[in-house]
């Protein structure tokens, strides 16, 4: 079969992009918009003549919030559909499920999601925000405003534990004190004991790093128990738009750092939202992952065009290595860091008001994903194909 394949694609052949996202199952709420973001960008690019004269063609599979489907379909898009790049994954578990396959089959995958950070893998480009971008901005700001006693509740898995580690480190660096830390198993929906523990510890700030629809029941329950500590989060609002879905004031007084949400008030962002609603009028909310997915397609366009139309991974990485692959996204200018292949972002501090409207007390432009590069991950030199954490950093060479 391989012999029948042309050695080089004709210029007129479309560029194929694989899309693996959870359009059903537990994560559907936050991920349907990611598919729409890719479709919107693709339509816009195709209407403007495609990439280097070639149209974009999407191959979309529904991974049903199931890790094994990622394994099946990652093979399928790379081996059967022979896509040029893949846009895949919401949960970190799904990313870890498909990553060995992308490495094995030498593909290129975009992970367009905010996550716990640390993936140092030449086959991956991450367009979402990472903890150092969200916490190094959020926590000092909140500590200055509300006080130095912090309590963390976090989902008991990789995202929660690693994020909690970041919180702990940044609190310590800024002279604060952790008065409590509690990890909640995924799927737990009853929080009476957690709420009591927080009440007893009397923190100034509560970091809520909860994940999933079950755990999001916490806010209503805390509100019903009259627990009103200022909350900080890297994951709420920007992902599952809890401020829109929950009855006020359960999320009031929450502060979230996000690289974009629907409410961001600038001309580029407004125009983006308008274009989106013209194409998908029934979209309940456009979240940060949707914007990450949208801008990922444009970044890909930028890279391919600068590689003179080549879609080969090595050519694209040579372009990335120059360190100036950027795009003017709805959030502002974003650039790829060549060492870690993560993105710089504009970080918005979103405050949830009593009526669940959003205001932005502070904006940090051009926040770099510095941690991986500083701690020894340099994909321009070496590809370790690994995920690191603050307590398990890259080996120093």
């Amino acid at each position: 079969m391989a012999l029948l394949m042309p050695m080089a694609a004709h210029a007129a052949d479309p560029i194929k992009l694989g899309v693996l996202e959870d359009q059903s199952g537990d994560f559907a709420l936050a991920t349907i918009g990611k598919v729409h973001g890719i479709q919107l960008a693709t339509d816009e690019i195709n209407a403007a003549g495609g990439i280097a004269g070639r149209k974009l063609d999407l191959v979309i599979y529904d991974t049903q919030s199931d890790n094994t489907r990622y394994q099946e379909f990652m093979r399928r898009v790379l081996q059967r559909d022979k896509v040029d790049a893949v846009f895949a994954g919401f949960s970190s578990a799904s990313r870890e499920a498909y990553r060995p396959i992308v490495d094995q089959l030498n593909g290129l995958a975009f992970y367009n999601n905010q996550y716990e950070g640390g993936v140092c893998d030449a086959h991956m480009i991450v367009t979402g925000a990472v903890p150092e971008q969200q916490f190094s901005t959020l926590i000092p700001w909140m500590m200055e405003k509300f006080g130095k006693k912090i309590y963390t509740i976090a989902a008991d898995y990789n995202f929660g534990q690693i994020s909690a580690e970041w919180v702990r480190n940044i609190v310590k660096q800024n002279g604060g004190e952790m008065v409590g830390e509690e990890f909640i198993p995924l799927g737990v929906s009853q929080f009476s004991s957690t709420i009591q523990n927080i009440q007893k510890a009397k923190p100034d700030i509560l970091m809520t790093l909860l994940v999933g629809t079950a755990q999001s029941s916490y806010y209503e329950q805390a509100n019903a128990a009259n627990l009103h500590v200022p909350m900080g989060s890297s994951v709420n609002v920007g992902q599952a738009y809890e401020h829109k879905r929950f009855k006020p004031p359960s999320l009031a007084n929450m502060y979230v750092t996000t690289n974009w949400i629907e409410e961001v008030d600038n001309p580029a962002s407004k125009a983006f939202v308008a274009r989106w609603h013209a194409k998908f009028p029934n979209e309940p909310y456009i979240n940060q992952e949707a914007e990450n997915s949208y801008l990922a397609v444009y970044l890909y366009k930028e890279m391919v065009e600068r590689a003179k139309g080549s879609t080969k991974r090595d050519d694209l990485r040579a372009v990335i290595a120059k360190g100036d692959v950027c795009f003017d996204a709805p959030e502002g200018k974003v650039c790829i860091d060549p060492k870690s292949q993560h993105m710089s972002h504009t970080i918005y501090l979103a405050k949830v008001n009593d009526d669940h409207s959003i205001s932005f007390p502070k904006v940090w432009p051009d926040v770099k994903p510095y941690w991986l590069g500083d701690s020894g991950c340099d994909l321009t030199k070496k590809n370790p194909n690994a995920q690191y954490t603050p307590s398990n950093p890259p080996p120093k060479s």
Binding site: S189, S193, E220
Partner: protein, 290 residues
């Protein structure tokens, strides 16, 4: 008074955990204990009840009535399901696992297609109360009361009404009941409907405290099964003590070592109970009585 606070706090958590377990399990216990049907779609009845309750409540209906609507809707859906599917599977309890699993897939994905990935919620009524240094959600106390009331109601229904007598007769010796002129098909159908309605009521009661998504039923089902197994086949003799014992284990372990310990403690308790009491608590009681 930290000691006083701790005691009240623990009692509240214990009551909260026990109420959750009893409410989760009562519908499943009736369907499983009385009919031998393993209903993996139990969680979807809970979801259906929650969705109906919230939708009706948003139209301005007071919450207690809305919960009743949720229960009735789930009960009606249950009777339809019994008629179409379950009726053909009596005597094949293990096949009901496959069939109800299928139903659960259809129900949760169907809800996603028809109603979207989530429903905006309603807030928890009744506010909070301060006892000592801690504040508690009043609605949680209501849930504890409702759990007790539902158990009492079921006890009355199955022991002191004509329906209850006929139902127990049908379940114990179906052909004898039939010979005596009981419409056993109707009895099965109603019993299944009551189980489903209880699930719906549970969904309705917890709807104001939870996030409404099509897959929310899964959050109840493990706890429900655990309680039913520990309780054994009889709803009245088993479910209430099981809810209390497990609620105690869960809240104790959670207070002591955190949520994970509470969860794992619950599951380990099941394995131990089954090793000691293969027929659950009600099996033990029935044996003593016999």
């Amino acid at each position: 008074m930290p000691g006083f606070d701790a005691v009240i706090g623990f009692l509240y958590q214990f009551g909260d955990a026990a109420a959750f377990l009893v409410l989760c399990a009562s519908g499943l216990a009736i369907i499983f204990g009385m009919m031998g049907v393993i209903n993996l779609a139990h969680g979807e009845f809970i979801m259906g009840g929650a969705y109906t309750t919230v939708t009706v409540a948003k139209l301005g209906v007071p919450l207690p009535l809305a919960v009743l609507c949720g229960a009735l809707a789930a009960g009606a859906a249950g009777m339809v399901l019994e008629r179409l599917v379950i009726r053909h599977l009596y005597g094949r309890p293990l096949d009901t696992i496959v069939a109800t699993w299928g139903v659960s897939l259809i129900a949760s994905q169907g809800t996603l297609i028809l109603l979207g990935p989530s429903l905006s919620d309603i807030s928890t009524p009744l506010g909070s109360v301060e006892i000592g240094a801690l504040s508690y959600s009043v609605y949680r106390f209501v849930l504890m009361g409702v759990a007790a009331a539902i158990l009492l109601g079921l006890y009355v229904l199955f022991n002191f009404t004509r329906f209850g007598v006929l139902a127990r007769a049908t379940i114990q010796v179906p052909h004898m009941a039939e010979t005596l002129g009981v419409d056993t098909r109707l009895i099965y159908s109603l019993t299944f409907g009551i189980g489903a309605a209880l699930a719906g009521a549970t969904g309705g009661l917890y709807a104001p405290t939870m996030t409404l998504v099509p897959t929310m039923g899964v959050q109840f089902i493990t706890e429900a099964f655990v309680t039913v197994v520990v309780g054994g086949g009889d709803v009245f003799l088993g479910t209430a003590p099981a809810g209390i014992v497990l609620g105690f284990i869960k809240s104790g372990m959670t207070t002591w070592e955190g949520q994970l310990a509470g969860q794992i403690g619950l599951l380990v308790a099941v394995i131990l109970v089954i090793r000691v009491l293969p027929r659950g608590i009600s099996g033990l009681m029935l044996r003593e009585r016999a």
